[in-house]
């Protein structure tokens, strides 16, 4: 009991120790790197590991307070309840501002510790400088948590019962979405630290990109999965079947994703061809800056209104200060040092490099569009006081067209040769993909009629991307041009990164298919029906059997039972519910979803009338799961790439061995 009571103090104290360690990590290794003292440089690794250990202790302490329902801790009292299921007691740790900020910092120091643990074969000075920069970020955010968002504050006297977690967060989504999202968001800090370290050192080579790429890929992979998970959570929780809202908060996580995707591609050019060095550094800085901006937007309350921010500015101003120092500092350093960096190899516009530059150009324009769209209302309000809205219709009109050229060009990229590519030859190889796309367009037109021209083109685009990704693999194993056994052995010999590229690009194609299909061919029925009546949606018959009350651990719910049949097939039961949470006096809807591999029947209910009739929203959503499956496939592609031999074992060592032989291309460029 005494141990449980003092958990909060142990946590608080650990956090302070974590800050002290982070401050040492910020300074000594950097000094060591400047004066060439290897013992000072070695401090970086030790402090990074220790800081992680202490923040982990703090996090564990808060978790213990939640699990034990210690309502003398203010944060627990505000966000927990003794009757809450155990899963939500644990996930409730990060279901609030203070706790989620602690998770943010925990993941930040985790990445620092990973660099310390796995970066042993990095050059000593680079490693020390990277860890120091990582230490600056950790110090800033640990200070932020301790000064403005302490999760360990006590209440005296301790309340007997907690105020419960926001019901909408009492969902498995809370267990998955924030950790994945933060692993992505915060993971980009490594690329940032490497970029700043390169600028401080004034030196950058292909080995640098070789190190930055896997870290970027890791962050990108998690961010992709995190955003997709958030989208699915919103989809089933909000009750009207939307899956992306262009909400500022979503945009806050989408901007780092877009910039991170660009970074992923430019880092390839830098690693393979030593070109785009300066641009890659800038992208690494921008990507994490957008993560920081997202944190500011979400945490400061500035999104609600500029005035809300002004009325309670403590947290917002603190993050804004962090933001200004880090982004401003990094960009100033960039402006100062970047011109001194050696420019890399040349390439023709039609080449693999050219294709990747094309990708970057449009992705950055798209990022800028989301950036302006998200911040414009805030700027207008701050400057002129008038309020305007920038919502989904704006983004669909601007962001959409920017993506089309990138998507059209995507299958070409991996097939083009480095330095100078042959567009005609590549186009010839893509004939099969083009044929697949054309057939898809024709089939869609036949089914949907002339009104579905745009939809048909969109479906065609999806097939173009998926087939294009497969063609690339087929080309690399010379499928049907050599005996199958040769192709098979070539397939086994392919580097895993080749599969990563194919999966990543095919995943995008799947997303496109899902988005277009659900936008064009969704069926929606909104009706009031009485028990015993049947509703028809896209060939599905939904019979309403009645509503029964039920009691859950910390809520009551009304469960409406529907029997679903499709053309006389097997019966399926769907149970959309409405829940009432006593403590918070609030209500949630739980949509019932029936998944048929790619398509879904989505059922949500509204108010019940006194005669037992209810308002029903029923949707048939064709191919909708492809949107999230596509994201999963993309993430998987990232993971497969990460297991590439080149990244798994002794890459720097092999690089050193090969350096002697490889002076030729450098001289040529």
């Amino acid at each position: 009991m005494i141990a449980a009571l003092s958990a909060a103090e142990i946590g608080h104290y650990s956090l302070i120790l974590g800050l002290a360690l982070a401050l040492i990590q910020s300074t000594l290794p950097l000094i060591g790197a400047r004066i060439g003292d290897s013992r000072l440089m070695a401090v970086g690794g030790a402090t990074a590991l220790a800081a992680f250990a202490y923040v982990a202790i703090a996090f564990a302490a808060l978790t213990i307070a939640y699990v034990g329902s210690d309502f003398s801790v203010k944060n627990v009292w505000e966000n927990s309840h003794s009757a809450k299921p155990m899963l939500f007691k644990v996930t409730g740790v990060w279901g609030n501002h203070e706790g989620s900020m602690l998770l943010w910092v925990l993941i930040l120091v985790l990445f620092g510790a990973l660099v310390a643990a796995f970066g042993r074969n990095l050059p000593d000075t680079l490693r020390a400088t990277v860890l120091a920069v990582q230490g600056w970020i950790a110090s800033a955010f640990l200070l932020f948590v301790l000064v403005t968002s302490n999760p360990f504050a006590r209440l005296d006297p301790a309340p007997l019962e907690g105020r419960d977690l926001n019901p909408i967060l009492q969902d498995i989504g809370l267990a998955i979405h924030p950790p994945l999202l933060y692993l992505g968001y915060v993971g980009f800090s490594i690329a940032f630290s490497f970029a700043v370290a390169a600028l401080i050192d004034g030196r950058i080579d292909a080995a640098w990109a070789r190190w930055v790429r896997p870290w970027t890929l890791t962050a990108w992979m998690f961010l992709t999965a995190g955003i997709a998970m958030g989208s699915y959570w919103a989809y089933y929780e909000l009750g009207w079947g939307g899956w992306w809202f262009w909400d500022p908060v979503e945009n806050a996580s989408f901007m780092p994703w877009l910039a991170g995707t660009a970074l992923l591609h430019s880092a390839i050019v830098m690693e393979k061809r030593s070109a785009l060095k300066i641009w890659t550094i800038l992208l690494a800085i921008l990507t994490f800056s957008l993560s920081l901006l997202g944190t500011f937007l979400v945490r400061s309350g500035v999104l609600t209104s500029v005035h809300a921010f002004a009325s309670d500015p403590a947290r917002g101003v603190f993050i804004l200060t962090i933001l200004t120092i880090f982004i401003g500092g990094a960009l100033a350093l960039f402006a100062w040092r970047a011109p001194g960096l050696r420019k890399g190899g040349l390439f023709a516009p039609i080449s693999r490099e050219g294709a990747l530059v094309f990708n970057n150009l449009f992705l950055i324009a798209a990022t800028a569009t989301v950036f302006v769209g998200t911040l414009y209302p805030l700027v207008v309000e701050a400057v002129s006081g008038s309020k305007i809205s920038v919502g989904a219709p704006f983004f669909e009109l601007t962001f959409g067209p920017l993506m089309i050229p990138v998507l059209l060009a995507m299958p070409f990229g991996p097939l083009l040769a480095w330095k100078r590519g042959d567009l005609t030859a590549v186009a010839q190889r893509l004939t099969i993909a083009l044929a697949a796309a054309v057939i898809a367009v024709i089939v869609t037109l036949v089914i949907a009629g002339a009104s579905g021209v745009l939809a048909a083109l969109g479906i065609g685009l999806g097939f173009w991307l998926i087939a294009g990704a497969l063609v690339e693999l087929a080309e690399r194993i010379r499928l049907f041009r050599t005996p199958l056994s040769t192709s098979w052995s070539r397939l086994k010999g392919l580097p895993r990164s080749a599969f990563g590229v194919a999966l990543g690009h095919a995943g995008i194609g799947m997303c496109v298919l899902g988005i277009v299909a659900v936008k064009s061919f969704e069926t929606e029925v909104i009706e009031t029906i009485a028990p015993g009546q049947t509703l028809k949606v896209a060939g599905f018959a939904l019979r309403f059997d009645g509503t029964t009350p039920r009691t859950g651990p910390n809520y009551r719910e009304d469960v409406s039972r529907f029997t679903v049949t499709w053309k006389g097939s097997r019966e399926i039961t769907l149970e959309p519910t409405r829940r009432f949470y006593q403590t918070r006096k609030s209500e949630t809807t739980e949509a019932a979803i029936h998944t048929m591999i790619f398509s879904q029947v989505y059922l949500a209910i509204g108010d019940t009338r006194s005669d037992g009739a209810i308002v029903v929203r029923a949707y048939h959503k064709p191919l909708i799961t492809l949107i999230w499956l596509g994201a999963v496939v993309m993430s998987l592609g990232g993971m497969v790439s990460l297991t590439d031999r080149r990244l798994r074992i002794g890459a720097p060592k092999r690089l050193r061995q090969r350096k002697g032989k490889h002076t030729q291309p450098a001289a040529a460029s």
Binding site: G95, N96, S100, N166, I168, L169, L174, H177, P178, L181, G230, W233, A234, L238, G239, W240, G242, F245, D247, V249, A252, V298, R299, G301, T304, K343, L346, V357, L361, A365, A366, A368, T369, V372, G373, Y376, K387, I388, S389, V390, G391, A392, F394, L397, T398, F399, L402, I526, E527, T528, R578, S586, E587, T589, A591, I605, G606, V615, R617, A667
Partner: protein, 155 residues
């Protein structure tokens, strides 16, 4: 209470605004063409009391009022622009989720193209420079002389 919900929603990139809402059966117009127009219009109009939601997917009472209002105007024979103009004159530009293409909003609308063109221009200029300028490996005459001088004594 609303503040708490907002905080929660702001935390995780979720729009957490109460239970399922939006169009109710009694609002739906009998004419499917008019109803489809009403839905399209509703998706472009902001629920003024919500966080970035359109009136088409909000269950706030005000959103319902606006949906009914839009349908009334459509039944009365307004075209889409007239409906939008009517709502803007009543509630201001804030009601439009897609801001008008006006002088004040130029920066918003032109950014995508501007970034694209500036980016393309920088690339084009960078390429021209790197093609025309001598490579960094080339030495100036003075440097060649210096090098020759340094190498001489050894021979």
């Amino acid at each position: 209470m609303i503040w708490r919900l907002l905080i929660a929603s702001l935390l995780f990139g979720l729009l957490v605004i109460g239970p399922a809402g939006a169009v109710e059966p009694d609002e739906v117009l009998a004419d499917p063409v008019l109803e489809a127009r009403a839905r399209d219009l509703s998706a472009q109009l902001r629920c003024l009391v919500c966080q970035n939601q359109s009136i088409d997917n909000s269950d706030a009472p005000l959103a319902k009022d606006l949906r009914v209002l839009v349908r009334e105007r459509l039944v009365a024979g307004d075209n889409d622009d007239q409906v939008r103009f009517f709502l803007v004159s009543r509630y201001g530009e804030f009601v439009l989720l897609k801001p008008r293409f006006s002088a004040g909003n130029l920066a918003l609308w032109l950014t995508p193209l501007l970034v694209l063109f500036i980016g393309a221009f920088v690339l084009w200029r960078g390429r021209r420079q790197s093609v025309s300028a001598p490579g960094p490996t080339g030495l100036s005459d003075a440097e060649e002389k210096e090098l020759a001088k340094l190498l001489e004594p050894r021979e």
